[in-house]
C-alpha cells in the first residue's frame, strides 16, 4: 500500500488531478455561498405591466409595520396555479418584511396540519403567530393576506356571540331559515362564532367582540335586556336583526337607543327581486358609510320593516343610515312613497358602544346568505364592528390595452414574420457562401 502511494503521489498527473479536484470543489463552494448570501440579501425591481410583484400602498404600510414573527400557511393543491400565485405573492410580502415566513401545504399530503387548523377547503389561508394564535381566511389574494395580518396582530381575536333562547335563527341550523352559512362565512374570515344563552348569565363574556341578536321570536326577560343594555353602555358592539311582526321585547331596548320599527313590510315596485313578491327588496345603492363604501353588489331583504329615529335622541346618539330603500318604496299598501331606512347604525356619544339595527333577520339566513351582496354586507359589518377598521380593500388593477388589426395589417405581420424576415437571413447566408466561394 505504501509502495503504491509512494509510486503515484509524486506523479504530475496525480498532483494535477488533486489540484483540479480541490479547485473545482472550492469554486462550487464559493458559488453556493454567494447564492446563499444573495438569497438572504437581495433586491428586486417590478417592471411588469400589471405590477403583480408589488403590493398596494396600504398593504406595504401594514407589512412594514409588522413587529412580530408570523407564519403563513397556504393550503392548496401543490404545483397548481393557486400555489404559484400564492408563492409569488408571499415572496413579495417576505421581501418587505423578513418576519413573515410561509409554507405552501397540500392538505392531502399534510392532513394533520389541515386538521389542526380545521381546513376544509383548498385555497385556505392560515396566519399564525409563534404563540399559536391564528386567523383563517378563504382565498389567497393580497386582500385576504393583509387583512388576516391586520386581524391577527391588532389585539386578541375576539369572538362573535349569537344570542339564543328566544327562537332566534340558529348558527348550526342548515335549513333555509338557519344561520349555518353565516357562521361558516364569519369563521372563514377568522372570527370564532359561538352561541350565547343569556338566561342564567350575569354578563356578556369578556372575550366577546360582537353580540348578534338574530331574529328573536319570543320575549326577552328583564335581566336579559339589562345584560345587553349594560354591554352596549360599556362600549360593546351589537347587531340586532329584528322582525317587526314579532314581539320580542327588543323594541324597548331599541326605543332607549332612539330607534323604532314600523309595523308592516316595505314594498318597492321598482326594486324587488325578480320572480318574487314586491316585499323582497333588491337594494343596489347604499349610503356612504364605512361598511358600505366599497359594496358594489346588490342585497336582498325579504320582508323588511322600516326603521325610524327619534329626533330628540340625536343629542345622545349619532345615527347613520346603513341600508335604505329607493325613493319608490312604501310601507305596506300605503300610497306614500319615499326612502325608508332598513339598516341603521347607532353610536353612543357618551362612551357607549355601537349598534347596527336591521328591520329584517332573514337576509342572512341560509336561503339569502348565498346572495353575494348579503354575505359581503354582513362580513363588512362584522369586520367593522370587531374593530378591524383598518382593513384593506385591494382594488383590482385593470390593464386593458387593446390592439385592433385590420385584415391587411394582420396579413402584413404574417408575411413579414414568416417569410420576409427569414428570407433576409437566407439571403445573408447565401451572400456569405458565395463570397467564400469567390475567395
Amino acid at each position: 500500500m505504501r509502495k503504491i502511494f509512494m509510486r503515484y503521489s509524486g506523479k504530475r498527473a496525480t498532483i494535477m488531478g488533486l489540484n483540479v479536484t480541490l479547485a473545482t470543489g472550492l469554486f462550487i463552494f464559493i458559488m453556493i455561498i454567494v447564492n446563499l448570501i444573495i438569497g438572504q440579501y437581495f433586491f428586486r425591481i417590478d417592471l411588469s405591466s400589471s405590477k403583480k410583484y408589488t403590493l398596494s400602498k396600504e398593504s406595504r404600510k401594514i407589512v412594514k409595520e409588522l413587529s412580530k414573527d408570523i407564519d403563513v400557511f397556504v393550503f392548496t393543491r401543490e404545483k397548481s396555479t393557486s400555489s404559484s400565485r400564492a408563492e409569488e405573492l408571499l415572496e413579495t410580502y417576505r421581501y418587505l418584511n423578513r418576519r413573515i415566513s410561509y409554507s405552501i401545504i397540500d392538505p392531502d399530503k399534510s392532513p394533520s396540519l389541515a386538521e389542526k387548523y380545521r381546513v376544509a377547503k383548498y385555497d385556505t389561508l392560515v396566519i399564525s403567530t409563534k404563540d399559536d394564535k391564528f386567523v383563517k381566511a378563504e382565498g389567497i389574494g393580497e386582500a385576504e393576506i393583509t387583512n388576516s395580518i391586520v386581524k391577527l396582530t391588532r389585539g386578541a381575536v375576539k369572538k362573535i356571540y349569537f344570542v339564543e333562547g328566544h327562537g332566534e335563527n340558529q348558527i348550526n341550523d342548515k335549513e333555509r331559515s338557519g344561520y349555518s352559512m353565516l357562521r361558516e362565512g364569519l369563521e372563514a374570515i377568522g372570527y370564532p362564532v359561538k352561541s350565547l344563552l343569556l338566561l342564567g348569565a350575569e354578563k356578556i363574556p369578556d372575550d366577546a367582540g360582537l353580540i348578534v341578536v338574530g331574529g328573536p321570536r319570543t320575549p326577552f326577560k328583564e335581566n336579559e335586556i339589562k345584560i345587553l343594555t349594560d354591554y352596549f353602555k360599556s362600549g360593546g358592539s351589537l347587531i340586532i336583526l329584528n322582525e317587526s311582526i314579532v314581539v320580542s321585547g327588543m323594541d324597548r331596548m331599541l326605543k332607549e337607543a332612539g330607534v323604532s320599527m314600523l309595523p308592516d313590510f316595505l314594498w318597492d315596485p321598482t326594486a324587488y327581486l325578480s320572480g318574487s313578491e314586491l316585499t323582497t327588496l333588491l337594494i343596489k345603492d347604499y349610503p356612504r358609510t364605512a361598511v358600505t363604501e366599497n359594496l358594489r353588489l346588490p342585497t336582498v331583504f325579504p320582508t323588511a320593516s322600516a326603521l325610524s329615529i327619534f329626533a330628540a335622541m340625536k343629542s345622545l346618539y349619532e345615527y347613520a343610515d346603513v341600508v335604505a330603500t329607493s325613493k319608490n318604496a312604501s310601507i305596506g299598501k300605503s300610497k306614500e312613497a319615499g326612502v325608508f331606512k332598513v339598516g341603521i347604525s347607532v353610536i353612543g356619544r357618551k362612551g357607549e358602544g355601537q349598534m347596527i339595527i336591521f328591520g329584517d333577520s332573514d337576509f342572512v339566513t341560509n336561503l339569502y346568505y348565498q346572495f353575494p351582496g348579503n354575505s359581503a354586507l354582513f362580513r363588512n359589518i362584522a369586520d367593522y364592528m370587531m374593530g378591524a377598521k383598518g382593513l384593506v380593500t385591494v382594488a383590482q388593477q385593470e390593464n386593458f390595452v387593446p390592439m385592433y388589426l385590420s385584415k391587411g395589417q394582420s396579413g402584413a405581420i404574417y408575411y413579414t414574420s414568416l417569410f420576409i424576415a427569414p428570407s433576409l437571413i437566407l439571403i445573408a447566408g447565401a451572400f456569405m457562401w458565395l463570397r467564400r466561394r469567390g475567395l
Binding site: I38, R44, S48, K79, D106, E398, F400, S410, L418, A421
Partner: protein
C-alpha cells in the same frame, strides 16, 4: 488577456462562414414569427370581444403576446444553443487543431473566454432579430418596455448560462453530435428541474425549484428583475466556463 480578441474574431469568422448560425437564426425567426403573427391576430379578435362585453384585467399586448413569445424563444434555445456550441472544442479536437492551440501562446482561459464571447455575440445578434416584434406591437398599440427589456435580459442571461454549458460539453468530446446531445440533456434537466418534485421532501423540492432555469426565466419575462435570478445565471455561466477551463487544462497536460 491580449489573445482573447483574436480568438473572438476567429470564432466569429467561423460562425458566419459556416451554415450553423444561419440555420439557427432561420429556425428561430420562422418559429417565433409564426407564433407572433398568430398571437397578434387572435389578440386583435379577443380585444374586440372583450371590449364589447367586459374589461379583462391584464389583457394587453405585453402580457398576452410578447411575454409568451419570449418564453417560446427561451424554450427554442434550449435545443438550438447546443447546436451553436457543439463545434467549439469538439471540432478542434476532431481536426487535431487543438494541439496547435494548446502549444500556442494562447492560454486556456483566453481560449475559453474568447469562444464564449464569440458565441454570446452570435446569440445576441440572433435574439436581436426579433426586436421588430415589440416595435410592431408598439406601433399598433402600446407595450410596457420595462417588461420587454426584462424579458430580453432574461433571454441574454439564460443564453449566457446555456452557452457556457454547451462550451463545457463540447470540451468533453471530439464528436460534435455527442456534445450537442449532452448539452441538450443538461439544459433540459436544468429547465424542468423544479417540476414534478411533489414526491420529494419540501427542502429538496425548494432547492430543485431554485436551481431551475424555468423559474428564474419566467420571473424575468414576467417583468421581475430579481437579483437572485441574475446571480444564479451568472453563477451557472461561471461554473460552465470554469469547468471548461479545467477540462482543457487537463487536455493540455496529457
Amino acid at each position: 488577456m491580449k489573445y482573447i480578441m483574436p480568438v473572438v474574431k476567429k470564432e466569429l469568422r467561423l460562425y458566419f462562414y459556416s451554415p450553423i448560425a444561419y440555420v439557427v437564426a432561420l429556425v428561430f425567426l420562422s418559429v417565433t414569427g409564426y407564433f407572433f403573427s398568430i398571437n397578434c391576430a387572435s389578440f386583435s379578435t379577443s380585444a374586440i370581444q372583450a371590449s364589447a362585453s367586459e374589461v379583462l384585467r391584464n389583457f394587453n399586448p405585453t402580457e398576452v403576446i410578447m411575454s409568451p413569445i419570449i418564453g417560446t424563444m427561451g424554450t427554442l434555445f434550449i435545443l438550438l444553443t447546443p447546436l451553436m456550441t457543439m463545434r467549439l472544442f469538439a471540432e478542434e479536437k476532431k481536426l487535431r487543431t487543438i494541439e496547435l492551440l494548446m502549444t500556442s501562446p494562447v492560454s486556456v482561459s483566453e481560449l475559453v473566454i474568447g469562444k464564449y464571447i464569440a458565441s454570446m455575440i452570435v446569440y445576441s445578434m440572433i435574439i436581436s432579430l426579433s426586436i421588430y416584434m415589440p416595435f410592431t406591437l408598439n406601433y399598433f398599440s402600446s407595450v410596457n418596455w420595462g417588461q420587454v427589456i426584462a424579458g430580453y435580459a432574461g433571454l441574454l442571461l439564460m443564453g449566457s448560462a446555456m452557452i457556457a454549458i454547451g462550451l463545457f460539453t463540447s470540451s468533453l468530446t471530439d464528436k460534435q453530435i455527442l456534445a450537442a446531445v449532452l448539452g441538450i440533456g443538461i439544459l433540459v434537466l436544468f429547465w424542468f428541474m423544479g417540476l414534478a418534485t411533489g414526491a420529494l421532501q419540501r427542502g429538496v423540492s425548494n432547492l430543485m425549484t431554485n436551481l431551475s432555469f424555468l423559474k428564474h426565466f419566467n420571473n424575468m419575462r414576467s417583468g421581475l428583475l430579481d437579483l437572485r435570478g441574475i446571480i444564479f445565471f451568472i453563477s451557472v455561466t461561471a461554473a460552465g466556463l470554469f469547468l471548461s477551463m479545467r477540462v482543457m487544462e487537463a487536455h493540455r497536460w496529457k
